[in-house]
C-alpha cells in the first residue's frame, strides 16, 4: 500500500504563492482596481498595492485603516462613504457606490467601491472585503458625452428657433412681397443649416473613434484618388452649400498626376469643409497646394485671413469647439476633417502664418 505524500517541497509552494501574488498585483494594476480586507476581530486592515496607487501613494506609505480612506475622500462624498461602509458592517450587508478620492497632489479620482461582509458561520467576527476601481476615465467620457449632447441640442436649437420664428412672420397675410421674400430667405437658409448639421452630426458619430477606418459600421474603402480633381470639385460646389456667396478667390496649384490614398467622396468632403472654413473665417485669398515628400503627399490649404486665436487652438478639431464668429453656428466641419484624415491613415494639422493667415496641412500616403 502506498501512502499519498505531498511531495511538493516548501520552497515550491512558496515560489508558487509568490508568483500568484505577483500575478494578482499585475492584474489589479491592469484593471486599475485596488482591494482591501478588514478583519474586524483583530482590527487589522490590509490594502493591496494598487489601492495605494489609486490613492496617489506608494505601497506601505501609511498604515491602512478605514479612516485613512475617509480622510482621502472628497469632502462632499466623505459622509456618504463613511455612513455606507459603517452600515454595511453593522447590518452585514454588501454595498456599492461611486465617490471621489483626492490624491496628495490634489488630483481628484472618481472611484467605484464595492464591499461585502463575509462571516464564517462559526460565530467568529466577520471580515469585510472590498474593491475600489478607478473609473475616472469613464467619468470623463461620460462628461464629454453630456457636453456633446448639450452642444448638439443648442446647435440644433438655434436654426429650429429661426425656422419657427420665420413661420410666424410668414403667417401674416398682410406682409409686403419684399418682406415675404426676406422671411422665406431666412427659412431656406436655416433649414439648409439644420439639415447640414444633422447630417454632420450623424456622420461624426458614425466615424468610430476607436476604429478610424470604419464609418456606419462599414470599412471605408481606400484607394488612389486624383487629388486635383477632388479639390476642384470641392471648390466649384462651395457657394451653394451654405446658401451664401462670399467673395473669395481660390487658387489651386496641384499637379494632375498626384494621387493620394483616400476614399473619393469623403476626400472631396475634407476639402469642402476646409474651404468652407477658409471662406467664412479666413479669406479672401485662398490657395491649395500639394507637394510630394518621401512616400507622402502634403497638401496645404492656406488663407490670408486673421488666423485662429491661440485660445482656440487646443480644441480646434474637437466637435463644437467654441471658435465660431457670431451667428455662424457651431463647428463640426473640422472635427469631421480630423476623423476622415485618420480614416485615410493620414493626419491634419494647423499653423498660423505671421503676420496673418492660416494653413491647414494634410498629410496623406502617396499612391
Amino acid at each position: 500500500m502506498t501512502e499519498a505524500v505531498d511531495t511538493t517541497a516548501p520552497t515550491d509552494v512558496s515560489a508558487r504563492l509568490h508568483r500568484l501574488e505577483r500575478q494578482f498585483t499585475e492584474i489589479q494594476r491592469l484593471a486599475q482596481f485596488g482591494s482591501w480586507e478588514w478583519d474586524i476581530a483583530t482590527d487589522v486592515v490590509t490594502w493591496s498595492d494598487e489601492l495605494y496607487w489609486i490613492l496617489g501613494l506608494a505601497p506601505g506609505d501609511l498604515q491602512p485603516a478605514l479612516g485613512a480612506i475617509l480622510d482621502r475622500a472628497h469632502p462632499d462624498d466623505r459622509d456618504m462613504l463613511g455612513v455606507t461602509v459603517r452600515r454595511a458592517i453593522a447590518d452585514r450587508v454588501s454595498y456599492a457606490l461611486d465617490h471621489r478620492l483626492v490624491r496628495p497632489d490634489g488630483d481628484v479620482r472618481w472611484c467605484h467601491s464595492r464591499g461585502t461582509v463575509i462571516a464564517n458561520g462559526r460565530g467568529e467576527q466577520p471580515r469585510l472585503y472590498g474593491v475600489t476601481i478607478d473609473i475616472t476615465e469613464r467619468r470623463r467620457s461620460e462628461q464629454f458625452l453630456r457636453e456633446f449632447i448639450s452642444n448638439a441640442a443648442h446647435a440644433l436649437g438655434t436654426p429650429s428657433a429661426v425656422i419657427v420664428q420665420a413661420a410666424h412672420v410668414l403667417a401674416d397675410s398682410t406682409l409686403a412681397k419684399s418682406d415675404y421674400d426676406a422671411a422665406m430667405g431666412a427659412l431656406t437658409r436655416q433649414s439648409t443649416r439644420l439639415r447640414e448639421l444633422s447630417t454632420n452630426l450623424f456622420d461624426l458619430v458614425a466615424l468610430d473613434t476607436s476604429a478610424p477606418s470604419v464609418m456606419f459600421g462599414l470599412s471605408i474603402m481606400l484607394g488612389p484618388v486624383t487629388l486635383a480633381d477632388k479639390v476642384r470639385k470641392a471648390a466649384e460646389g462651395l457657394s451653394p452649400l451654405r446658401g451664401v456667396a462670399l467673395d473669395v478667390d481660390i487658387d489651386i496649384d496641384i499637379d494632375d498626376d498626384i494621387a493620394v490614398l483616400a476614399e473619393p467622396a469623403e476626400l472631396e468632403r475634407v476639402f469642402v469643409n476646409l474651404l468652407t472654413n477658409a471662406q467664412i473665417h479666413g479669406g479672401p485669398n485662398i490657395s491649395v497646394t500639394a507637394s510630394r515628400l518621401a512616400g507622402e503627399v502634403i497638401v496645404e490649404v492656406c488663407d490670408d485671413g486673421p488666423g485662429i486665436p491661440n485660445e482656440y487652438l487646443q480644441s480646434l478639431f474637437a466637435p463644437f469647439a467654441k471658435r465660431q464668429a457670431a451667428g455662424q453656428g457651431p463647428g463640426l466641419g473640422l472635427a469631421i476633417v480630423h476623423q476622415l484624415m485618420r480614416a485615410f491613415g493620414g493626419a491634419v494639422s494647423y499653423h498660423r502664418v505671421e503676420p496673418h493667415g492660416s494653413v491647414f496641412a494634410l498629410r496623406f500616403s502617396a499612391e
Binding site: A161, V164, Q165, A166, H168, V169, D172, A183, A186
Partner: protein
Amino acid sequence: MATILIVEDEEDLRLLLRLSLSSESYTFLEAATGAEAAVLWSSADLILLDLRLPDIDGLDLLRRLGNKGVSVIAVSAHSAGHLGAAAIEAGCVGYLAKPFTTAELLETVRAALPAAS
C-alpha cells in the same frame, strides 16, 4: 418715432424681428455681440436683448450697462419660467421666450415703450 436696438447674434433672427415689427414705424439698430451692443446702448429707446450672446450673458450686460433711460425686453431661447423672473429682477420690463408670435412681440414692445413715443 422710437428707436429699437436688437441685440441678437443670429442674423436671420434680427431680420425676422425687424420684419415682425415692420407694421410700426420704428427705427432699428442692430448688434450681434455684447461689445457691439455696448456702443449703441444709450442710443435706443427700447432694447430687445437676447440672453445668450457669444461674448457675454445678456443679463450680465444689462447689469453692467444699466437701464436708465431705456426699456429692456429679454429674449430667450428657453421658456424656463425662472429665466423670466431673473430678467425682471435684473431690470427688464418684459420677457419673451422664442418662438413668439408677431402679435405677442408687438404687444410687448408697445407696452414697454413710453406712451409719448
